[in-house]
C-alpha cells in the first residue's frame, strides 16, 4: 500500500505543491515503513523518514530551510508517584495522574530547536520536551481524593515523566537528527527501543523558514505486536478467564511432560 502511494501518488502531490500559488514552498516525505511488527525477537527498530523540499520558481529564497520531525506515540493516562519516608520505609506517597501522556515522543531537527523558531511558536506547535502537553493533572495522597492541579504545581511530576522516558529512550530529542543531502533532500532515522508501546503513531514533518512554519505533513505509523506475542497479548486482555485456564492447563502439561522425560533417564 505504502509502496503504491510512493510510486503513483507522490509525483502528483509534488506537482501540486509545485504549482500551488498559496504554498510557494512545500515538502514531500515518506517513511521507510508504515508498520512495525513486534515479535519475540524484537529489540527495537529504526524508521527512516525521508523527503524533499519542493521550491517555487525563485530558488534563491531567503535564509536556510529547517526541517523538524516530530513523532508522537499513543497517549495514555499515566500516574507518577513520589516516594516519601513513612516510619522508616520508603513508600509511594503523593501521586499525580496525567490524562494524556504520549507513550513515545521524538523530536529531530537539523539544528537546535531554539535556533530554528521562537519559543512562542515551539509552544504553540508543542515542539520539544518542554512543550509537550500531558493534559489535565490530578493529584492525590495515599489513594485519597483527587484534586485538579495547574501544570506549574505538578512540574516535578511531569519532569519525572520526561526523565524516566528519556532514560528508557522513549522520549528522544536529537538536534542533529535530520541530515540534509544537498539543499532539498533530507532524511532522518527514528530510533524505536524494544519497550516501545504499541498503537498508532503520528510522524509530523515541519518545514520552517525564518522561524515560520511553511509546510507540515503528517504520516501515520502503526506499531503492533505480531505473531505469538500478538496472540498471547490479545488473548490475555480479551479473554482473561479463558487465558488463565489455558495457562494452568499448559503448566500442568509442561510439568507432567518434564516429569515423564526425566523418569526415562
Amino acid at each position: 500500500m505504502s509502496k503504491l502511494i510512493t510510486k503513483f501518488l507522490l509525483p502528483y502531490v509534488a506537482l501540486l505543491g509545485f504549482i500551488d500559488p498559496v504554498h510557494a514552498e512545500g515538502i514531500v516525505t515518506d517513511l521507510s515503513k508504515h508498520e512495525v511488527a513486534i515479535r519475540s525477537n524484537f529489540t527495537g527498530a529504526d524508521i527512516l523518514v525521508f523527503g524533499a523540499i519542493e521550491r517555487a520558481g525563485d530558488s534563491a529564497s531567503t535564509g536556510p530551510a529547517d526541517v523538524v520531525i516530530e513523532v508522537t506515540g499513543p497517549e495514555t493516562t499515566e500516574t507518577v508517584r513520589r516516594k516519601d519516608k513513612v516510619s522508616g520505609i520508603w513508600m509511594n506517597y503523593e501521586a499525580t495522574r496525567f490524562e494524556r501522556v504520549p507513550g513515545f515522543y521524538a523530536v529531530l531537527s537539523s539544528r537546535p530547536l531554539e535556533n530554528i523558531a521562537p519559543a512562542s511558536l515551539l509552544k504553540v506547535e508543542q515542539l520539544g520536551f518542554n512543550n509537550i502537553s500531558f493534559g489535565k493533572a490530578w493529584s492525590s495522597v495515599l489513594g485519597g481524593e483527587e484534586n485538579l492541579r495547574t501544570p506549574d504545581e505538578v512540574a516535578p511530576f511531569s519532569t519525572a515523566i520526561l526523565r524516566s522516558r528519556a532514560k528508557d529512550k522513549l522520549y528522544v530529542a536529537d538536534s542533529n537528527g535530520v541530515v540534509f543531502m544537498g539543499d532539498t533532500l533530507f532524511r532522518a532515522s527514528i530510533p524505536l527501543p524494544a519497550s516501545v508501546p504499541v498503537g498508532l503513531y503520528t510522524v509530523k514533518v515541519y518545514l520552517l523558514r525564518d522561524g515560520h512554519v511553511v509546510d507540515a505533513i503528517s504520516s501515520p505509523l502503526l506499531i503492533a505486536k505480531s505473531g505469538v506475542e500478538r496472540v498471547i497479548y490479545r488473548f490475555a486482555y480479551g479473554q482473561p478467564f479463558l487465558y488463565g485456564i489455558v495457562a494452568v492447563l499448559l503448566a500442568i502439561f509442561a510439568g507432567w511432560t518434564a516429569a515423564l522425560i526425566f523418569r526415562e533417564h
Binding site: R39, T79, W90, R163, E229, G244, V248, A258
Partner: protein, 306 residues
C-alpha cells in the same frame, strides 16, 4: 539473545531467564523446596514488574508441583479429605488475597505489599532455619545426637468444635485449624505467588500433628489447585500472567532440579538447611534494604491502570 515477553512488555535475555529458572530449580532440587519464594524476588530484581512476577510465579508453581503431586498420589500418600478441607480454606484465602492485591494496586502500594510480605516471611523462615540447623550441628558435635521432640499431648487444636475424622492422617480434629491454615496460605499464594509449602508443611507437622509421610503429598495436592486458582484470578483481575515467561522459567527449572537433587545427596541435611537459611536471609535482606535505602529516583511511573 533477547526475547520479548508479551505480558511483562519488555525485552530480556533468554539465557538470563533460563539461568534464573535453572539456578532456583537446582536449589529446589537440592533442598527439596518449591523455590518460588526465591524466584519471585529474583524476577523483581531483574526488572520484571512485581505484579507480573507474582502472577507468573503462581503459574510456574503449578507446573513444578505436578510431578511430585502425581508421585505422591500413586504412592497413596495424599490425605484427600484433609487436602479438600485445606483447599476450601485456600480458595477463600485466594479470593481474599486477590482482593487485597487489587485494592492496593489501585492506590499504588502493591509493590510495597509484595516486598513487605517477602521481607517478613523470608526473614522469619530464614532465621528459623538458621537457628534450627546451627542447633542440630552443635548438638551433633557434642555427640548427643538431636532427639526429635514430638509430644503426644493434645494441644489447643484438639479442643475446638466441628471435629472431623481424617482417616489417612489418623486424626480426629476440628476442621477449623486446617480451614484457617488453608486460608492463610491461599492469601500468601495470591499476594506472593509462592506455593506456600514452607508454611504449610511445618504447620501440618507441628500444629495439626499430621504423620510426616502424608504431609508432603497432601501439601502438594492442595498447592496445585490453589496456585491454579490464583493463576486464573491474576489473569482475570490484573492480566499479570506471562505464559512465555512461565515456560522459560519452567524449562530452566526442571533441568536445574535434576542436577540439584544429585548435588543434594552429597550434602548433609543440617548443612543443607544452614545454607538455604543463609540464602533465604540474604534475599530477604536485599529486599528489605531496597525498602529503607534512599531511592535513586523518588518518582516512579505506573502505566494507565496502575
Amino acid at each position: 539473545m533477547q526475547i520479548y515477553l508479551p505480558i511483562a512488555e519488555l525485552s530480556i535475555n533468554i539465557f538470563l531467564l533460563l539461568g534464573l529458572g535453572g539456578a532456583v530449580g537446582f536449589l529446589s532440587g537440592m533442598f527439596g523446596v518449591g523455590g518460588g519464594f526465591l524466584l519471585t524476588p529474583l524476577l523483581i530484581f531483574s526488572g520484571i514488574p512485581p505484579a507480573v512476577a507474582v502472577g507468573t510465579q503462581a503459574n510456574q508453581t503449578v507446573a513444578s508441583s505436578i510431578s511430585g503431586a502425581l508421585a505422591h498420589w500413586r504412592q497413596g500418600t495424599v490425605d484427600l479429605k484433609m487436602g479438600l478441607v485445606l483447599l476450601v480454606g485456600g480458595a477463600v484465602g485466594s479470593f481474599l488475597g486477590i482482593y487485597v492485591f487489587g485494592l492496593l494496586k489501585s492506590v499504588g502500594q502493591v509493590d510495597l505489599l509484595i516486598s513487605l510480605s517477602y521481607v517478613l516471611f523470608l526473614g522469619v523462615i530464614g532465621g528459623l532455619m538458621l537457628i534450627e540447623s546451627v542447633r542440630a550441628i552443635i548438638a551433633e558435635r557434642r555427640g548427643g545426637g538431636a532427639t526429635a521432640r514430638r509430644s503426644n499431648h493434645h494441644n489447643w487444636v484438639h479442643r475446638l468444635p466441628f471435629k472431623m475424622r481424617f482417616r489417612k492422617s489418623r486424626l480426629y480434629i476440628s476442621a477449623i485449624p486446617p480451614l484457617l491454615l488453608g486460608t492463610l496460605v491461599g492469601m500468601l499464594v495470591a499476594i506472593m505467588g509462592v506455593g506456600g509449602g514452607f508454611i504449610m508443611v511445618p504447620a501440618m507437622i507441628y500444629m495439626l500433628r499430621m504423620p510426616t509421610n502424608v504431609v508432603i503429598g497432601t501439601s502438594l495436592f492442595q498447592i496445585i489447585f490453589v496456585t491454579g486458582l490464583v493463576t486464573v484470578l491474576h489473569s482475570v483481575q490484573n492480566q499479570a500472567v506471562d505464559v512465555l515467561l512461565a515456560l522459560l522459567l519452567l524449562t530452566g527449572g526442571v533441568i536445574g532440579a535434576q542436577f540439584g537433587a544429585r548435588a543434594g545427596e552429597k550434602l548433609r541435611g543440617e548443612h543443607l538447611r544452614l545454607l538455604l537459611g543463609l540464602l533465604v536471609l540474604l534475599v530477604g535482606a536485599r529486599l528489605g534494604y531496597d525498602l529503607i535505602a534512599t531511592p535513586d529516583d523518588m518518582f516512579s511511573l505506573s502505566g494507565g491502570l496502575g
